[in-house]
Subunit: 264 residues, 3 copies
């Protein structure tokens, strides 16, 4: 399904079974675990600060998704980043809802200034908010005004690249067109189907998938991120096609998406 | 699938995409988000007290479901109600387990005395507990003795109406027969299938669906509540019919329910 | 699907509808609730320490799964065990991740020394860690080195039996071969399919199913535990067979597993 070198990156996930330690939100935590299993990696979803060091020590990558932030998670989030830095484990950050609430944006900006991350994976509104550009995020979905298309691509790609250079990381800006960049190289992925945004958690799932790919391919973070994004988009297309042939709706689409990831 | 005016209420959900801010339980939070997406609305599941004001400010309705209450959620629940009151956003309250534990009933009664809600959506045992009538709630499902049927309907409808008048809200009492009332008008819905109570979260899903309908139709709260209930019942029937034709069980029923809601 | 006496144990679940109060992790909580419903029992997933006494009082069994432990859950876990002891309700303990983090192992050992449990249901690495034997647990899945097979069975069965005798409980050690023992009798179950470990939560689901069977058959804890394990294994086989006939993957397998449990 993927091209040769991407197949190799996936093959590494399937052979190395990276352990992905996830601090993620309670809305989509089950889907994230199942996606990580479906691609051949192994999930652990631990947030207790007393054991983060043990589990991050065992893991090949950390998925940090602030979707359902809470006062009692401030310490786990910070500690996970500190431990990952100390143990040199790559962190894939999902800045859910950045821009929609000031305290959320502020927390993310402070964490990004303090700790290194390997990848920031978010939608266009979230990436814009982290870039400090003006705009409005409505809830946890990207605003229509932030969509990446033929016209807006140059400015949006420049914004993502600047964010990547600033934080020395890869930025994966998801949407109808995905923009993936390490600050120098920019890859555009135009695959996927809009129905994927009508089931909750496809963004979170992609972040988990990205962490699995980065954990198995730590020397090639941009390539791993591109491979994860393309895999999710192609599997989304296959899942929607199969859903339609079954005359199904969004419930079937969710099941077919996990099917496609596990059969890819 | 729905009659004309109910179709219009659903059309409003699909066109206005109301944002529904949900403070809900961690058992069914994913299903609630997917149901809200399936009907055409947009879910946010934020409970952090530091950002409730921002997200409720963006939202058209609030879904407050106390299913997995916890000491650390006392403040978020109270703050959500206070902010919703201040910003005049309609709240749909799901009093999960009212009557099963004293501290749960007490919390609900206190909140209802302090803050306005637009709709209370619960099963017959929960509505009875909030009405102060004697009885016993076993766990989170309605007791057999609370069932609404030909014989018990008059007394149950009077009880629901009195609760609606007391709190100036709509009461949606779910079960084999649903009783929906604003204190003056009473609507009975006898649709749906008993299998819906054998998958977890159909009550929570209906509460989320009701919040989506109320958010898109704030001037017609009773009508919106009736439309949400009928949509859930009819989709439950369709889902069970399809499940049987596929020789499936409760796993398939859950998938077909989301399918039916998204295809309605 | 099950043999005669196991059919009777299942029949008891379906006729007595035991209420199972679950303190479980937020990754698989929805699946656990749906499995408990699918087998004919009734789930409640309450963790608030203020109401544990009420709900455990109503329940026939307690499922205690420490998968996503957290400082704010220390008190609920301890209180649930204390209340269950006082009210003589059987507890089925799932020691998720025992051995993978010191604080997790320490907490489990302390709880087991202080409170009685009816069943410990874990994978081979977790049972080893609770037995005090050396070894290494990688995340929440069993290590390959802990696998039970023809060669390792005698030593592993002796280890499980010793743990059962020490804590006067049944030990259910899950894996390709399941070892179930009350310290005197040892039952081996070689059914099931490896694909079950590729969807998250099958262990948690089995713990919930075991609690349902124990709640409905409190006088026959070993038999109830064996029946639950065999039911899960046989339903896993049926689900995988059906998944293959549908050309499905891991998403379909999860749905088919709930289907098989509800249709058994």
């Amino acid at each position: 399904m993927l091209e040769w070198d991407k197949q190799e990156l996936l093959q590494n996930v399937r052979e190395r079974h990276p352990l992905v330690e996830c601090l993620t939100n309670n809305v989509t935590v089950n889907d994230v675990a199942n996606v990580i299993l479906a691609c051949g990696a192994s999930p652990v979803m631990v947030t207790d600060p007393r054991e983060l060091e043990d589990f991050i020590g065992l893991a090949q990558a950390v998925d940090l998704n602030i979707g359902t932030m809470a006062p009692e998670l401030d310490l786990p989030f910070e500690k996970a980043l500190a431990v990952a830095q100390q143990l040199k484990k790559p962190v894939v950050l999902d800045p859910v809802g950045a821009g929609a609430a000031k305290c959320r944006t502020d927390m993310l900006l402070r964490l990004l200034e303090t700790y290194p991350v390997a990848v920031i994976r978010g939608n266009a509104s979230e990436i814009r908010a982290l870039s400090g550009e003006a705009g409005k995020t409505m809830g946890v979905d990207a605003s229509a005004g932030d969509a990446v298309n033929e016209e807006t691509l140059p400015a949006r790609a420049a914004m993502a690249s600047a964010l990547a250079r600033k934080h020395h990381c890869v930025v994966a800006m998801s949407g109808a067109w995905d923009v993936l960049t390490d600050g120098n190289r920019v890859v555009i992925c135009k695959r996927g189907v809009p129905q994927m945004s009508q089931i909750t958690g496809t963004g979170c799932m992609l972040t988990g998938l990205t962490a699995a790919f980065v954990g198995a391919n730590p020397q090639n973070v941009l390539e791993a991120t591109v491979a994860a994004t393309e895999m999710m988009c192609l599997c989304g297309e296959a899942a929607w096609q199969r859903t339609q042939s079954l005359h199904g709706g969004l419930g079937t689409l969710r099941v077919q998406l996990i099917d496609a990831l596990s059969l890819a």
